[in-house]
């Protein structure tokens, strides 16, 4: 309900400069208040991008004695602990313990470097064969034929208190070089 027009204004109408100065002051104050909230809000929202991604954890494969006199690759299922936000879950992954001669061995991921199917050890043929697109690998995981662009991926392993441990990781698919992901 506007006041009748003939009444005088109580205050002189400020000149434009004063108004824009006030506007500036208001904007500054408003900015300060917004920043009080905006900075923590941004930190809050971008938190998952800023936490350093967890180092892949070590999983137990089994007692070292089992693997010292292997004649051919053996498969083992390992539990891999994954941290996902506020929850942790255990997923199982397959690895192969592959003898490399004179009691040595290495641990290969069963994930095919082509598109990620689980590679199978086919003892009858002395080969690793991937069921999905027929990639084949020698008994130490070297690529022989088929679409994969590199050998099967070796995983970091160590022995602690007689237990073989492996650090399970995923590697980028469809590339010739082995690069960890995640």
């Amino acid at each position: 309900m506007p006041a009748p027009a003939h009444l005088p204004e109580q205050m002189p109408v400020p000149v434009p400069e004063r108004r824009s100065f006030l506007g500036l002051l208001l904007a500054a104050a408003g900015g300060l208040v917004s920043a009080t909230l905006a900075i923590p809000l941004m930190r809050f929202a971008t938190f998952p991008l800023r936490v350093p991604s967890e180092e892949a954890s070590w999983s137990d494969v089994g007692k070292i004695d089992e693997f010292l006199s292997l004649a051919e690759p053996v498969a083992r299922t390992i539990d891999v602990k994954k941290i996902d936000g506020w929850r942790s879950s255990v997923v199982q992954n397959g690895v192969y313990i592959v003898p490399t001669g004179s009691g040595n061995f290495k641990v290969l991921s069963s994930v095919c470097p082509h598109l990620g199917c689980a590679v199978r050890w086919i003892g009858k043929r002395d080969k690793f064969i991937c069921p999905c697109h027929g990639g084949t690998f020698t008994n130490i995981g070297v690529h022989i034929s088929g679409p994969p662009l590199r050998a099967m991926d070796e995983l970091e392993s160590k022995v602690e208190n007689g237990i073989l441990k492996v650090r399970f990781q995923y590697f980028r698919q469809l590339v010739a070089k082995k690069e960890p992901v995640g």
Partner: protein, 489 residues
């Protein structure tokens, strides 16, 4: 530049230039802005008028912090407490934002009280402002509803038991009480369905209604105009006016700034607590509502039993009706508080009683040794819980193991055959199915071993059309493959 559409005098026009002009031609934003900023205030700007804007500002802050909190919050009894704990203990600024949001609710209650007191004392509800007042009453109820529903969401002991009591009270309402309580709880007992319901109310339903009623409230306010000081006539203001911009706007902004700063300081230095997760079987827990609900809680203790229908339902209902009807009952044009003793004294008595009940409740809890000790224990449990590092929630391990090793030699052989044959290429590595071919998991329930063996060697037209190649295996290998297929679960 004078605009023939908006016959305002020269000095009323704010200079516009460049992109503003571009925008203005398309939106008419300039005249909207003028309209908003040039709202005349009879008698000039005053600090007494800042509460409405302050509430709007706080509501905005609640919306923003609330939206951000839902980035991490999960409304299920399995996860709610863990996620709030994650927000409070792990996420950057999480505790601060959660505190701003929780204390924001308290600040809104305080400001509502100030806003209502000012309106009542100044008689600003007079002069064709009944709908404005009524929309305000709805806003008050909605805000109280927001505070009530939001309280449960962290799912700690305090939240759970306070809400259990709160929803119990609803069942006292005659006739409709029981069904209403069950509707709100999603069943006879409190549980994860209660949490979902409160979440939906707190995050979708009530905020939606709040926004609608705030729009209505602001619209009606602008329609009626600012009421001005209490010596002003409510219908035909006579005092010289002052425009909303700049003085009142500056006051509103300064007040909002102070409120937010105060909120930020409290949130930073005295962050809210999260207690241990709700333990529904804990019978020793003594629930206490938030301080502004404490007097109601105390009142219900007083009137329990024979008087519960009158004291718990009729009297509060009557008071609420009376409150909503104030502008219809107090109709004179007189606004000076000392000339309206009934309304002013009535309100003062109500406030005194309300505060008194709160004080009695507080005193009772302190004088009863057992209660006091238990309350202290509960407080201590919260402090202890806050000190503990975040406990990551572990999920049960993936129940489908990688099919690399199996015990049954026949199945193991079948696994190898499945792997050697091109089956997995289309049916998936573990028979889980792909876009090429259906899943084989569970096929053992559909077909017997004989049927499966038959199907492998005699494909149906549908299988041939789907591109399934012929299977060439001897009897032993077929049996092994069938055993493997039937083992897929």
């Amino acid at each position: 530049m004078p605009d023939p559409e908006h016959p305002l005098s020269q000095e009323n026009q704010r200079p516009i230039s460049g992109w503003m002009k571009w925008l203005d031609r398309r939106t008419d934003i300039h005249s909207l802005l003028n309209e908003a900023l040039d709202e005349p205030i009879p008698g000039g700007a005053r600090w007494a008028y800042v509460f409405g804007s302050g509430l709007l500002y706080l509501f905005l802050s609640q919306v923003i912090t609330g939206v951000f909190l839902t980035l991490y919050y999960v409304p299920s009894s399995d996860h709610a407490h863990t996620t709030v704990s994650y927000i409070s203990k792990v996420v950057s600024s999480g505790l601060f934002l959660r505190s701003i949001h929780a204390y924001g609710a308290t600040a809104i209650i305080i400001l509502l009280f100030l806003h209502i007191s000012q309106t009542l004392l100044y008689g600003s509800y007079k002069g064709r402002r009944e709908l404005l007042w009524l929309s305000g009453c709805f806003l008050l109820a909605l805000m109280l509803g927001m505070a009530f529903t939001g309280y449960l969401l962290p799912w700690d002991q305090k939240a759970y038991f306070a809400t259990a009591v709160g929803t119990n009270i609803i069942s006292e309402v005659p006739l409709i009480g029981e069904p209403l309580q069950q509707l709100l709880r999603g069943g006879p007992q409190m549980g994860t369905l209660t949490l979902s319901r409160f979440f939906v109310l707190h995050v979708f339903v009530l905020p939606g209604m709040l926004i609608a009623f705030i729009a209505m409230h602001v619209f009606l306010f602008r329609k009626a105009g600012a009421a001005g000081p209490f010596k002003e006539d409510p219908v035909y203001p006579k005092l010289p006016t002052q425009k909303f911009y700049p003085r009142q706007l500056v006051m509103d902004m300064v007040a909002s700034l102070l409120i937010v700063l105060a909120l930020a300081l409290v949130a930073y230095f005295v962050p809210v607590h999260l207690g241990p997760e709700a333990n529904t079987s804990d019978t020793s827990y003594i629930p206490r509502p938030e301080w502004y609900y404490l007097p109601i809680f105390q009142w219900l203790k007083v009137v329990s039993g024979r008087w519960s229908l009158f004291g718990g339902i009729l009297l509060p209902g009557l008071l609420a009706l009376l409150f909503a009807a104030i502008p219809f009952l107090d109709r004179g044009r007189e606004r000076r508080p000392w000339k309206r003793p009934v309304v002013v004294a009535g309100f003062a008595i109500f406030v005194a009683c309300y505060a008194g009940l709160g004080a009695i409740s507080y005193r009772d809890d302190r004088t009863d040794q057992n209660v006091a000790a238990q309350l202290t224990r509960q407080k201590q449990a919260e402090i202890d819980y806050m000190r503990q590092p975040f406990q990551i929630q572990s999920q049960p391990s993936n129940p489908v193991p990688v099919a690399l090793v199996t015990a049954d030699p026949l199945i193991a052989k079948g696994t190898a055959i499945f792997a050697e044959q091109p089956c997995g290429g289309c049916h998936g590595d573990r028979g889980e199915g792909t876009t090429e071919a259906p899943a084989l998991i569970g096929i053992g329930q559909k077909y017997s071993s004989n049927q499966l063996a038959f199907l492998l060697h005699h494909r149906t037209p549908q299988m041939i059309k789907g591109g399934m190649p012929p299977v060439d295996l001897n009897q032993a290998d077929t049996d092994a493959l069938v055993a493997y297929l039937r083992s897929l679960k």
